[in-house]
Structure formats: structure tokens, C-alpha cells
């Protein structure tokens, strides 16, 4: 058996082993998600957001996660400006 044949054999073994292990590993991960994680999700559900409160709030004031796009644009500009003010050219550093 010459060298190249041997290398092909090695590569072939590696390919088969590799794909088997990759599939086995990620399949186990599926199992982990569908069993362990699913059970945990049942047992520890996310706390329900106080929806009634929220919709009331929304009418009165802007909730922190729901800023209007115009304000976001204005603020993004301001933040950028703020940052630029704090990184003035200062070659003598």
C-alpha cells in the first residue's frame, strides 16, 4: 500500500468518524433541549409581565423599550455627538 492510498484511507476514516460524531453530538443536544430544557421551561416559566399596567403606562408616558423612532434618531445623533466631544483630536497624548 503506497503512501497516498494510506492517506486516502486515513482521510476516509476521518470523514466517516467525523460526520458520525458531529451528528451524534448535535442529536444529543436535540435530546437535551427537548427533555432537560423543556422540563426546565415548564417548571420555571418567565414571570408574566404586568400587561394591564403596561398598557395604561403606555398611554401616559413612553416606556423605556418603546421610544419613538424620531427620538431614537435624535438621541443616536446626540450620543454620537457626545462621544465625539469626548474623543477630540489630541495628538499630544
Amino acid at each position: 500500500m503506497n503512501n497516498m492510498e494510506q492517506q486516502f484511507l486515513e482521510a476516509g476514516t476521518l470523514m466517516i468518524t467525523g460526520m458520525v460524531v458531529v451528528f451524534a453530538f448535535l442529536s444529543l443536544l436535540i435530546l437535551f433541549i427537548t427533555t432537560v430544557l423543556a422540563k426546565l421551561a415548564d417548571k420555571y416559566p418567565d414571570p408574566v409581565a404586568p400587561t394591564i399596567n403596561r398598557s395604561n403606562k403606555k398611554k401616559n408616558k413612553v416606556a423605556s423599550g418603546e421610544v419613538s423612532p424620531a427620538i431614537v434618531a435624535a438621541i443616536s445623533g446626540a450620543v454620537k455627538r457626545y462621544r465625539e466631544q469626548h474623543s477630540q483630536p489630541n495628538s499630544k497624548l
Binding site: 482521510a11 470523514m15 467525523g18 448535535l26 444529543l28 436535540i30
Partner: protein
């Protein structure tokens, strides 16, 4: 006069070797791709710049005492930089789509066929005169098919450091080319009807699932594939910091300052391996060719696996999202979304494609671990 002679002898013009000139042009080419074509600029820009610097005659950037020498040996030879990048990427990754639809992991597994099939190709290339790839070299090259930059750099630094430059260039180039390489393959392997398939909305994923997931992944890697734990471990650390909600300042730093600083240095350090000696040979052509093959086979395997799963699945699966299994987050998912929209303007696949997309990151880290363990 003597002084002017000395000065002339110290100029680049008097000391240039042809190889250095060519490699500088390669560096400029990378800068062009980064800046003008927006090809993975975060890494290709510092990498191209590093390639220019390392090839400057007389300056000695990559010799003992030179800046790039320190950067390479402190951060890349040790594997520290790619691992820090991986931690930051972990802190940016949302596994929600994958947890909601765990079967997507099979697509991330199938797409790794590109990696292992390429091993064959690399050995076959050894029949070309001037190319002599060991199995280690072949493995480092094949990982390009994983479409994951830090994984490729980490593996190459361990298995074939002399090929690192060419492998990194190929890996990032093909990742940038995802929108060009993938669509024809995706369309060739799917029918119009398949591409039109709409998928069911994903369920809500709870916080506890997201927190435990990285720990479970790490645990399984420890059990079955410890050689992959550097990559998977740092990735899971970053993801845990993001999801646990109690160390936001660390998570924020990992995703921003730390990854930015590391990216600059990683790019420069990888660029420092783009010397004429290491790059200008027929092996580099082989690497570029094999990388393209790995990438294409990976894409095809993902799509074909998704087609097969669609056959046997109760809920419909659009085969296009299989292509996202190569990783290249988030570009491959966006490509799947785009091709899907072309077939059906109401078909938004982005979130569905994020599942195989992040599964592909895990898949290629697992593949890297197998190669480290066996080669």
C-alpha cells in the same frame, strides 16, 4: 555623501524583493475588498494592513523586536485572540431560534460534511507536483468549510501555522462571498415550490432555557469531546454572560471593547503571516480551491439535509434554511431569507434560518475538536 549612500541603502526601493512587492499588492487587494467592496472589513482591513507592514523591507515588523512579532506570538500562537473573539461572539449570539426548533441542529451537522469531504480533496491534490499536504495541513484547510473565522484561525495555529495566512484569507474571503457563492447552489438543489414553503412561527423561549443551554453544550463537550472545549468553552462563557442577566457590564465589554481590541490585533497578527515565502506558492492556490469546494459542499449538504427533513417532518421546512448551516452568522441566514423572498414575497425565513446558522457555529467547533483529537 556617505550618509546619503547609507540612507539610500536603507530605503525600501533599494531592498525590495519581488515577493514582498507582490505580497504588498495582495495586502492592498484585501484592503480594497474590505473598504470598497465591504468584504468582512472588520478583519480584512487589519489583515490587509498587516500584510503590507510585514512585507516592508528593512523595517522588520515580524522579526524579533518588531510589533507584529509580539502580536503574533502573544496572541495567535497561544490561541488567545481567537478564543477571546469566540467569547465575544458567544456574548452576541442568541440561541433562542435554535432552542425553539432544535431539529435545526441537524442542518448545522449536515453542513459540516463540507469540512470532512475536503480532507479527501486535499489528499488528492498531493498528486499535483509542488503540493504536499499532510493530514494536519488538510484538516486545517478543510475547516474553511466551517465558515467560521476564529475557529479556522485557532485550528490552523495548532495544526498548520505555516499555512495560517492563506487559510485565514480564504476563510474570510469566502465568508464575504456567501451572498455570491450560496444562491446558485441553493437554487440548483431546490424546486420553486420548495423555496416557497412558509414555516410556522417559533415558540417563545424562556430565560431559564437560554441560561442553561450554554452550560448543557459545555457539559456535553466536556463529556464527549474535550479537545473542543477551548472553543466551545469560551463561546459558552460569553453566551452565559449575556443570558444570565447578572453580569451585564462584563457581557457588554466582551461584545465591544474587548472584541474590538482583539480584532485589531488578530487581524494584524494574521496579516503578519502573509509573507511571500509562505503565501506565494502553489499550495496557496490549492488552499483557495479546496476552500471553495468545502464551502460549496457544506452549503449543498445543508440544503439536501433540509430537503430530506422536509420529506419526513410533520411541520414544513423550507430547504433554503439548510444553507445557513455552514454558519457565517448572520450573512448566511440573510441570504436564505433573501432567496426565500424572491420565490415568495411573504416568506420571511430570517428567524428560522438563525437556528441552523448558530447550529453551524457549534457544528464547526465540534468538527474542529474532532480534527484536533484525531489528527
Amino acid at each position: 555623501m556617505e550618509s546619503l549612500t547609507k540612507l539610500w541603502l536603507s530605503t525600501g526601493l533599494a531592498n525590495f524583493e519581488l515577493g514582498q512587492v507582490i505580497m504588498m499588492l495582495v495586502g492592498c487587494g484585501l484592503l480594497y475588498l474590505a473598504i470598497a467592496r465591504n468584504f468582512e472589513p472588520l478583519l480584512l482591513l487589519p489583515m490587509g494592513f498587516g500584510a503590507v507592514l510585514t512585507n516592508i523591507p528593512v523595517a522588520g515588523f515580524s522579526e524579533v523586536g518588531g510589533l507584529l512579532h509580539y502580536i503574533y506570538y502573544a496572541g495567535i500562537d497561544t490561541g488567545i485572540f481567537p478564543l477571546l473573539i469566540f467569547m465575544g461572539v458567544g456574548a452576541m449570539t442568541d440561541f433562542g431560534a435554535l432552542i425553539a426548533n432544535p431539529k435545526m441542529l441537524l442542518l448545522g451537522a449536515a453542513a459540516q460534511f463540507g469540512i470532512f469531504a475536503t480532507l479527501f480533496g486535499a489528499i488528492a491534490l498531493n498528486s499535483v507536483p509542488g503540493i504536499e499536504f499532510t493530514l494536519k495541513d488538510a484538516s486545517a484547510i478543510a475547516i474553511i468549510g466551517g465558515a467560521d473565522g476564529p475557529t479556522a484561525i485557532f485550528l490552523a495555529s495548532k495544526l498548520a501555522p505555516e499555512l495560517l495566512g492563506a487559510i485565514a484569507v480564504a476563510a474570510y474571503s469566502y465568508m464575504a462571498l456567501v451572498p455570491i457563492i450560496q444562491p446558485p447552489i441553493m437554487k440548483a438543489l431546490t424546486s420553486e415550490d420548495e423555496r416557497k414553503i412558509e414555516m410556522a412561527q417559533l415558540r417563545h423561549v424562556t430565560k431559564i432555557e437560554k441560561v442553561i443551554f450554554p452550560l448543557g453544550v459545555l457539559l456535553m463537550t466536556i463529556f464527549f469531546l474535550p479537545s473542543a472545549t477551548p472553543l466551545v468553552g469560551m463561546f459558552c462563557l460569553g453566551n452565559l454572560m449575556k443570558e444570565c442577566g447578572v453580569v451585564d457590564r462584563l457581557s457588554y465589554t466582551a461584545q465591544n471593547e474587548l472584541i474590538n481590541i482583539t480584532t485589531i490585533f488578530l487581524g494584524l497578527g494574521v496579516g503578519s503571516k502573509l509573507s511571500a515565502h509562505a503565501f506565494l506558492n502553489v499550495e496557496t492556490l490549492g488552499i483557495l480551491g479546496l476552500g471553495a469546494i468545502a464551502f460549496s459542499i457544506g452549503t449543498a449538504s445543508g440544503v439536501l439535509m433540509a430537503k430530506a427533513m422536509n420529506k419526513f417532518s410533520k411541520v414544513p421546512i423550507n430547504p433554503l434554511i439548510g444553507a445557513a448551516g455552514v454558519s457565517a452568522v448572520p450573512m448566511a441566514a440573510r441570504v436564505a431569507n433573501k432567496v426565500g423572498l424572491e420565490a415568495n414575497p411573504h416568506n420571511f425565513l430570517l428567524m428560522h434560518a438563525m437556528g441552523p446558522n448558530v447550529a453551524g457555529v457549534l457544528g464547526s467547533a465540534v468538527a474542529a475538536g474532532i480534527l484536533l483529537a484525531l489528527v
